[in-house]
């Protein structure tokens, strides 16, 4: 990895622990990792193209190319703007390196790859898909709105958990492809290892950033309340790393787990995560109770299947 590159972009779906990661990174004296700026998400939206008849791309890059400005030049100008903004933040904090954290970036990973792949490093943060789905549903409830990038999934899937599971699948497949294609400058870490072994994981992160852990500790990182901003609503409520949310999907009902298994398991297998159960445990007393309740419901005159 090119440890001399000044910038790094964190890629991970919402609710994958990126805010915790940013908090830990930002505490390093030589690195700045501001709260969600939306810079690269905006770049992604700026660059996103559509296809019209005969696959003609329509968007800024093709439009400017028709006007005589090569794609490489348009990309260079945009990159200079984006990187310049982060350099500005870096200078204000007297830091050597900047790290960008905006979860929505993952929805524009193809455009970000086109813009930045050879010009900065990446941290790809992945979390168990069922835990992400549970947390995304919780986030939507807390915010009272659905994030724009989730709208299509919500329209297509009646169960919120199913919608967020499909979102995780699509984003993760893209991110896994990105990480393989850019393995030379991408560090892949999991949320689970971050919360269970924070110091070891952060050593790998800081190594990517060309830094040591001198002058940095997990405890000090979590006691800080500086540089707060967008997206910091939950993680900053705590001053300790809490691994209790790992495996939260196991609290879902058996039927829900089995339903999500049909959706998530292929991608969980691809990402080497524990798969959800595909059938109920045969000896579980709960299975017998479920059967008994089913019989009671059927015997109730008002219920017919």
């Amino acid at each position: 990895m090119d440890k001399k590159r000044k910038g790094t972009i964190i890629l991970g779906t919402p609710r994958s622990g990126s805010t915790l990661l940013r908090r830990l990174i930002d505490a390093h004296p030589n690195v700045c990792c501001p709260a969600e700026t939306g810079v690269f998400t905006a770049c992604g939206r700026f660059l996103r193209q559509h296809q019209i008849a005969e696959n003609v791309p329509v968007g800024v890059l093709s439009g400017m190319a028709f006007a005589g400005v090569p794609e490489t030049e348009t990309l260079a100008r945009l990159r200079e703007l984006a990187f310049g903004l982060f350099t500005e933040v870096c200078d204000r904090q007297d830091a050597e390196r900047w790290v960008s954290k905006t979860p929505h970036d993952i929805f524009y990973i193809d455009e970000i790859e086109q813009l930045c792949a050879d010009h900065c490093n990446f941290i790809y943060l992945v979390r168990h898909g069922a835990d992400v789905a549970c947390s995304m549903v919780e986030l939507n409830d807390k915010l009272g709105v659905h994030l724009p990038e989730t709208h299509n999934y919500i329209r297509q899937h009646s169960a919120p958990l199913d919608a967020m599971a499909h979102l995780w699948i699509d984003a993760t497949k893209r991110a896994e492809r990105f990480a393989r294609a850019n393995s030379a400058n991408t560090l892949r870490i999991t949320y689970e290892e971050l919360v269970e072994s924070p110091r070891d994981t952060m050593s790998k992160v800081f190594d990517l950033l060309g830094q040591t852990t001198d002058g940095w500790s997990v405890d000090e990182a979590l006691s800080g309340r500086e540089n707060l901003g967008l997206g910091d609503w939950k993680t900053y409520q705590k001053d300790q790393i809490d691994a209790a949310s790992v495996g939260r999907w196991k609290k879902l009902s058996d039927i829900t787990q089995i339903r999500l298994a049909g959706i998530l398991n292929p991608t969980l297998r691809m990402t080497e995560y524990e798969e959800l159960p595909t059938r109920l445990a045969a000896t579980d007393p709960e299975v017998r109770r479920r059967h008994e309740i089913g019989l009671l419901l059927q015997s109730s005159q008002a219920i017919t299947t």
Binding site: L252, G294, L296, L297, I303, T305
Partner: protein, 80 residues
């Protein structure tokens, strides 16, 4: 998890796919097709698990389960 209106609504929405923005506490859950019998089993299991009680055969009826208000009314007879 304590059993109250919020947790029941959350369970209906997150686990059983009910669009809770479109229902009231009086909306029939099963008799108008919002939930099927499999979901009803899920609901009863959740109430028993979280409430720490076991429903008797006579209690597993639509009178106790077909709407949020009916569920809450039933819970008042079971929970301290």
């Amino acid at each position: 998890m304590s059993l109250n209106r919020d947790t029941i609504v959350d369970f209906l929405g997150s686990n059983l796919g009910v669009d809770t923005s479109q229902i009231s506490d009086e909306t029939p859950l099963f008799t108008n097709g919002n939930l099927d019998s499999f979901s009803m089993v899920d609901l009863v299991m959740m109430l028993e698990t979280e409430g720490g009680f076991r429903m008797t055969p006579g209690e597993v009826t639509l009178d106790n389960l077909d709407s949020i208000s009916q569920i809450l009314g039933f819970l008042q007879t079971k929970l301290p």
